[in-house]
């Protein structure tokens, strides 16, 4: 209209312009108001062993989560911010139950990262009843696959680790295996996998010794091991310090038998122990030299911020926090509130995400990834298969 053109320009247009500007501004603000209200705080619960024999794991996991949240903020994935609600599981099942109870009843988190088999098993029913999503990045007990529909494992479980190990044992002609294990879900899981799989490659489990998780004195067991003359000794304990103790005492006792364990050997208490030279362990595969952008950023920033080499545990918890970011973003975009039930629905709806290390497909509470076998040589961990 001729009028509107005149209205917009020129001195008479000034008042009009001001009026329009005001109307537009208030319209913008009233539209932005719900968006501002939307820029809220999301909470991420963590249930890690911050004290006790596994405290070093808690520290590494926490660092991983912090790094992921930093990247999520840097990349502006979300309108809101994520804050962490940390609790100390003490690395024990009871600590886990108490901690999870606190996370769901008091902190009311919709998503929690957990670790350690006994802890996970004890806390899962509590999270399940409260309909909170739980993601495990470190525990490997096989029955973690069936705990609850809200419980997801981002780490391959021990049955995958042992399944991968057994053919290699056959190739290496390691026939007689003795196992020292803690009689908890992790130890039982590994024991049953070995029992079931070893005969298939012509090997056997010659002896098994169950120990209490706090036991430190292994000389009677070592005496019996000497008698058993195994080709390899497998250690299946949930306590990092206990594994280190066993390794040291076995070597101190003059036994030079090959020692094998699972992914926990990634922790410095074990990998940096002088007596661990020659230790073989299985873990998920991780190509630290990869050029894939998410992985490269994870590795570079980990080295820069924390001054140490990254481990698969750090990677998993980084991914665990990243997953939360993805899910929240999805819910934000759909305008849905962030609750455990909605997060679960979102995960089931999408089913795959690009995490550090590649694309991960989620189904049936587990994730399938590649595995590898490592050996510690002169303090350095190298891939063997």
């Amino acid at each position: 209209m001729k009028t509107s053109f005149h209205l917009i320009t020129g001195k008479q247009g000034a008042t009009w312009r001001r009026g329009v500007a005001t109307v537009l501004a208030s319209a913008a603000m009233s539209l932005a108001a719900p968006m501002v209200a939307w820029a809220q705080s999301y909470t991420l619960g963590t249930l890690f062993p911050m004290s006790g024999p596994n405290a070093e794991a808690g520290a590494i996991y926490t660092n991983a989560v912090d790094l992921a949240l930093k990247h999520i903020a840097q990349d502006h994935w979300l309108k809101g911010t994520i804050s962490v609600k940390p609790t100390d599981s003490l690395g024990t099942p009871q600590g886990g139950a108490v901690g999870m109870s606190r996370l769901v009843n008091v902190e009311k988190v919709p998503y929690a990262l957990v670790g350690f088999t006994g802890v996970a098993k004890a806390s899962a029913p509590i999270g399940d009843r409260a309909q909170v999503m739980m993601v495990n990045g470190g525990a490997v007990g096989p029955d973690l696959a069936k705990l609850s529909k809200y419980f997801w494992n981002i780490i391959p479980l021990a049955n995958q680790e042992v399944e991968f190990l057994i053919p290699w044992l056959g190739e290496q002609k390691i026939k007689k295996i003795a196992i020292i294990y803690v009689d908890d879900p992790l130890g039982q899981g590994i024991l049953s996998e070995l029992k079931a799989g070893l005969p298939g490659v012509g090997s056997e489990l010659v002896s098994s010794y169950s120990v209490a998780p706090e036991l430190q004195q292994f000389s009677p067991i070592i005496a019996r091991l000497r008698n058993d003359k195994p080709d390899a000794i497998y250690i299946a304990s949930p306590n990092i310090t206990q594994i280190a103790h066993i390794i040291k005492q076995v070597r101190d006792g003059g036994l030079n038998t090959q020692i094998i364990t699972y992914g926990a050997a990634n922790f410095p208490s074990i990998s940096k122990l002088p007596e661990s030279d020659g230790l073989i362990f299985t873990s998920q595969a991780a190509d630290w030299g990869s050029d894939e952008p998410t992985m490269k950023r994870f590795v570079d920033e980990w080295r820069k911020n924390y001054g140490t080499e990254p481990t698969t545990y750090g990677l998993n918890y980084y991914n665990g926090a990243l997953l939360y970011g993805y899910l929240v973003r999805g819910l934000e975009q759909a305008g849905k509130p962030v609750t455990g039930t909605n997060l679960l629905a979102e995960l089931e709806r999408v089913g795959h995400y690009a995490l550090a290390g590649g694309e991960a497909r989620f189904s049936d509470s587990t994730v399938t990834t590649a595995m590898q076998i490592n050996r510690i040589s002169k303090g350095v961990t190298e891939k063997v298969k």
């Binding site: 004290s51 430190q216 000389s219």
Partner: protein, 289 residues
């Protein structure tokens, strides 16, 4: 060979038990005080040695410091905890609870400043060598045996010959008699605590060196000392030492028969059995019902 090997590790464990039990039994036999804070003495000695070792102190000095701290703690308990209680009403219950409280406090203090995890002093003494075909012994075993023999001989001579030693033996039975002989029962009590606490120190150091110690170790030490004292017979130092050795050996040999998880519980089953069927223990005086 397996049997010999287990016997060797049983003797190693047994010596540690015998030393701590002897300390507890001496104190209890002489003063009738149920010094359950004995485990705290163990922790104090062990951590003193460890911390000094970490900062590079020469081991004989660290050992002396451990002795000093252990004895200081024992005497502190005697003077500032047990004596006031005994002056007011001194029931068994009160002493026990007070000693327990002290033990817990010490454990928490150590935990707060030094962490909950176990610490170990590394030494080549724990490396085992094949002495006989199939029998692996570490030098620490020989060291423990020698030290134990020396320590027990000294204590025995002291109790047998020296006046103060005789006084200690009389203290529990007839304190009144002591006074008439010019011996001060208060001083003798302190002496009992000094010797009793000192006995713990070699055990603490050997444990720190071989399997490591942690704040919670004190409880276990105290329980074993108690078990050995009762099994050996209250009032008999010899009995406590022998019982400590026997419990250590049993604990190791038993895994040939039962699953490994039961090895620690076996000592307590033995204790329970003795209390039920032979409360006097091996060498003790008859129990008043």
């Amino acid at each position: 060979m397996l049997f010999l090997q287990l016997l060797a590790s049983g003797i190693q464990t047994g010596i540690l038990y015998a030393l701590t039990a002897a300390g507890f039994a001496l104190i209890f036999g002489a003063t009738r005080i149920f010094h359950v804070a004995h485990g705290a003495t163990f922790i104090i000695a062990g951590y003193t040695y460890y911390e000094l070792h970490q900062v590079g102190v020469w081991w004989p000095l660290a050992t002396l410091a451990a002795f000093a701290m252990a004895i200081a703690f024992g005497v502190f308990m005697a003077l500032y905890v047990y004596r006031p209680i005994q002056r007011s009403e001194g029931s068994f219950f009160t002493v026990f609870v007070a000693a327990f409280g002290a033990s817990i406090s010490v454990q928490s203090l150590v935990q707060y400043f030094f962490g909950r995890g176990s610490v170990m002093v590394s030494t080549p003494l724990t490396m085992a060598q094949e002495t006989l075909p199939g029998l692996y012994l570490a030098p620490i075993l020989a060291v423990s045996i020698v030290v134990a023999i020396i320590v027990f001989t000294c204590v025995h001579l002291f109790l047998d010959r020296r006046n103060a030693g005789l006084g200690l033996r009389a203290l529990s039975e007839s304190p009144g008699l002591l006074e008439s002989f010019g011996l001060d029962s208060k001083r003798l009590t302190i002496l009992a605590f000094v010797i009793g606490s000192a006995l713990v120190v070699p055990a603490a150091i050997f444990t720190a060196v071989s399997i490591g110690i942690q704040p919670a170790s004190g409880h276990r030490v105290m329980l074993i000392s108690l078990a050995a004292t009762i099994v050996g017979g209250i009032g008999s130092l010899r009995g406590a030492v022998l019982a400590g050795l026997v419990l250590g050996v049993i604990e190791n040999l038993v895994i040939t028969m039962v699953d490994t998880q039961w090895s620690e519980a076996v000592s307590f089953l033995v204790l329970f059995a003795f209390i039920m069927f032979r409360p006097n223990g091996l060498f003790g005086t008859a129990v008043k019902k």
